[in-house]
């Protein structure tokens, strides 16, 4: 039996749980915990420069590895600064555990210095939260937090820890709980076999089927199984933004992604389908647009681990609650016992789809001519070539995010790391740090814009302290591109506050931190700059690439004038 203080229990628990990195920022209410971290060397603490960055870095780590990211912040402003990152993780179902310092128990409710009801503030954006009431419950509560964060539909879990719970003078028995049980929480894994059979019957009879898959394939580690299933059936497949990488984009069956900025053939195929097999996707408004006109002729099979995602916006004909991987495996084994559909059955459908493909054949943008500004799309394509399509890619939010999703062709899951649901500007750079710290030998590229980058650029200092060699590709169009695009389309080009006037000289700024920055303004400069940037994977390089500010993201499925 071992007696430990609450703070030491936290440090020890993190070690026993196998946590390697935590991202955080100290402050009064968290000081006992920081002292405990100081006195051990199993868990490495990454000191960020703003708590929001801690959550995004932990989030990037979680998206790349599938394991929960861990954050430690202090009470009050430390905790409230973390809220945006918690909400970002919540919207994209990312496993995360956030440990928050809190004022002493006897001060709670008295508006004490640096007190916030952070459990209340975060309630709508966490999977669950805990307040520690006694130091002895720390190991079990932490185990529950990790268990909840990583199982079922993953999500962030917050643990509020009043300072007196971590007092160094009070010691209690510590045992690492290998397992915990929560009586009200039994996430479904296997789907209902009867329902899966029904779905397989429909798949074999379908003449115009489409797979529509989302982030559930990535978080559920089901991309191999999905690829097998799709290739067996020879059905077309479209993924959501969050589902990118769940199926190789170069495959003939891949129609690319769907929705507002998705491909023409993906959206046309969804509209004309007779069967949609949705797996780990949630029919969100950026995909469906007007739900009453969405997929008018299709029967819908919807597989999701979260029952509340099914029939939330679009009614499912065959709902299947279960983990993507297990349901797909069962579909495959059922298909093996069945007479396969005739290969001709889908010939007509593929002819139609190839027709749509041919209709939009050619580039969606005009590459720059000598003397003209670079196009953001050609920059993404050049980075794709320079990294042989193998980099981890994080993005911020806006036009560059859509271009990255369109032009960097992902063949593997967990490689495209983007804030899809919440759309958080400032996400990309700290997320890239979280990835790079855990994959030091891989290239990690952050596509950003001068708007997004300025929201989290203080993290250059963190990169300096911990030698984080991310490659920052700043698509500098001197404006908030996506806002400007909407203003062009819907507000007669009245560019209200979408300009980025008085931009800094990014090269000087980066150099002030001791890093390399390369300014690129012409196509000829692009390839040599990329060669230089990717010469050493351990070096942080910032590419300030001036691109055409008038470029829009196309295709776009919202008619101008519609304020969606």
């Amino acid at each position: 039996m071992e007696l430990l203080s609450g703070a030491d229990m936290i440090a020890r628990f993190l070690k026993d749980e196998g946590v390697e990195h935590i991202y955080g920022y100290p402050g009064g209410a968290a000081l006992h915990i920081y002292d405990a971290l100081f006195r051990q060397d199993s868990v490495k603490h990454i000191l960020v420069r703003h708590e929001q960055a801690a959550t995004h870095a932990a989030d990037g780590y979680a998206r790349a590895t599938g394991k929960p990211g861990v954050v430690l912040v202090t009470s009050g402003p430390g905790a409230t600064n973390a809220v945006t990152g918690i909400a970002t993780a919540y919207m994209d179902s990312i496993p995360m555990v956030v440990l928050c310092g809190q004022v002493m128990s006897h001060l709670i409710g008295e508006d004490a210095f640096q007190e916030t009801d952070i459990v209340g503030v975060t309630r709508p954006v966490v999977k669950h939260s805990f307040s520690i009431k006694h130091p002895s419950e720390i190991p079990e509560v932490l185990k529950k937090a990790f268990y909840l964060a990583a199982t079922g539909r993953p999500g962030p879990v917050l643990v509020d820890i009043p300072k007196d719970m971590t007092s160094p003078t009070e010691r209690y028995e510590y045992v690492y709980p290998k397992k915990v049980k929560i009586r009200s929480y039994n996430p479904v894994t296997r789907g209902h076999t009867g329902q899966i059979k029904k779905a397989v019957d429909m798949m074999l009879k379908a003449r115009r089927p489409v797979f529509y898959t989302g982030g559930g394939i990535i978080t559920g580690r089901a991309s191999e199984a999905l690829t097998d299933l799709v290739q067996r059936l020879g059905f077309p497949i479209t993924t959501t933004l969050m589902g990118i990488g769940g199926f190789p984009q170069g495959d003939r069956c891949s129609l690319g992604w769907l929705g507002m900025h998705g491909s023409y053939e993906a959206n046309m195929a969804m509209h004309h389908a007779d069967l949609i097999i949705a797996i780990g996707a949630r029919f969100d408004d950026r995909v469906t647009n007007n739900t009453s006109k969405f997929c008018p002729t299709a029967k819908i099979v919807h597989v999701d681990i979260d029952p509340s995602s099914i029939s939330k916006t679009v009614r499912a004909d065959v709902p299947i609650v279960g983990a993507a991987g297990s349901v797909i495996d069962e579909m495959i084994s059922l298909l093996q016992d069945r007479e396969p559909a005739s290969p001709d059955a889908l010939a007509e459908w593929w002819k139609t789809i190839d027709g749509w493909r041919a209709e939009r054949e050619g580039k969606l943008y005009e590459p720059s001519k000598p003397g003209e500004a670079l196009k953001p799309q050609e920059v993404i394509e050049a980075v794709y070539r320079a990294t042989r399509g193998e980099a981890f890619v994080t993005t911020d939010v806006g036009q560059h995010q859509m271009f990255a999703a369109q032009y960097y062709k992902f063949a593997k899951p967990n490689r495209f790391i983007t804030s899809g649901g919440l759309g958080t500007m400032g996400f990309g750079f700290p997320a890239a740090m979280g990835v790079k710290l855990n994959f030091p030998q891989d290239d990690v590229v952050c596509f950003t814009g001068e708007g997004s980058f300025q929201m989290m650029m203080q993290e250059l200092s963190t990169c300096k302290q911990f030698d984080v060699g991310v490659k920052i590709v700043n698509l500098n169009n001197q404006s908030l591109g996506m806002v400007r695009q909407w203003q062009d389309l819907n507000y007669k080009s009245r560019h209200a506050h979408s300009y980025m006037e008085s931009l800094p000289d990014f090269a000087k700024l980066i150099e002030a931190y001791g890093f390399t920055a390369i300014k690129v303004t012409t196509f000829d400069e692009l390839e040599p700059a990329l060669e230089r940037a990717f010469a050493d994977t351990h070096e942080l390089v910032f590419l300030d690439i001036y691109v055409d500010p008038f470029e829009h993201v196309y295709p776009m499925q919202v008619p101008p004038g519609l304020h969606a």
């Binding site: 209340g120 307040s131 009586r183 009200s184 929480y185 509340s308 029939s311 009614r315």
Partner: protein
């Protein structure tokens, strides 16, 4: 359509706020809410009446079930059930209307539970419709104050909401 949803909830701090927060966060509506501990001190029973079409009610029950603190729930309106609400009403009881209050209370099988020279406090139980009718009947005489508990309910017969 109106639904009565009964929930067994972990008797933990913050559990109630998660349930109530869910309704406002997802734009669901609460008509009445009633919560108290059960025979098992680790569980509270919460009953909420809400209005919505089948799609909305399905979403409400799914989202409630997703809350970690919700152990079990039942939509009582899906089967035969008993619905009760308790109401305390203070009514002006002066002169001729003093008898009228008592007579009306008797008709509704309500009890006068507190008396002053000018006021009767009446206790009545029943379903929401009966309580509404009583309020209507008393209104012309002069209602001073109303306190309703919100609906509580239980399934008829052998059906149980328990662990």
């Amino acid at each position: 359509m109106r639904h009565i949803i009964s929930i067994l909830l972990e008797n933990e701090p913050g559990a109630l706020s998660r349930v109530v927060g869910l309704f406002s966060q997802r734009n669901f509506n609460i008509e009445t809410l009633n919560v108290a501990p059960t025979e098992d001190p680790s569980l509270s029973r919460l009953t909420v009446t809400t209005v919505g079409d089948d799609r909305v009610i399905e979403q409400i029950t799914k989202h409630l079930n997703k809350l970690i603190d919700v152990v079990k729930l039942v939509d009582l309106t899906e089967g035969n059930h008993i619905e009760r609400e308790l109401m305390l009403v203070k009514v002006k009881a002066l002169g001729a209307s003093r008898d009228e209050v008592k007579r009306t209370a008797d008709i509704f099988r309500a009890q006068v539970v507190d008396v002053t020279p000018s006021v009767y406090t009446v206790q009545i139980t029943g379903d929401a419709g009966k309580l509404d009718a009583f309020v209507q009947a008393m209104a012309p005489i002069g209602i001073l104050e109303v306190a309703r508990t919100g609906v509580s309910g239980i399934a008829r017969g052998d059906k149980l909401l328990s662990l």
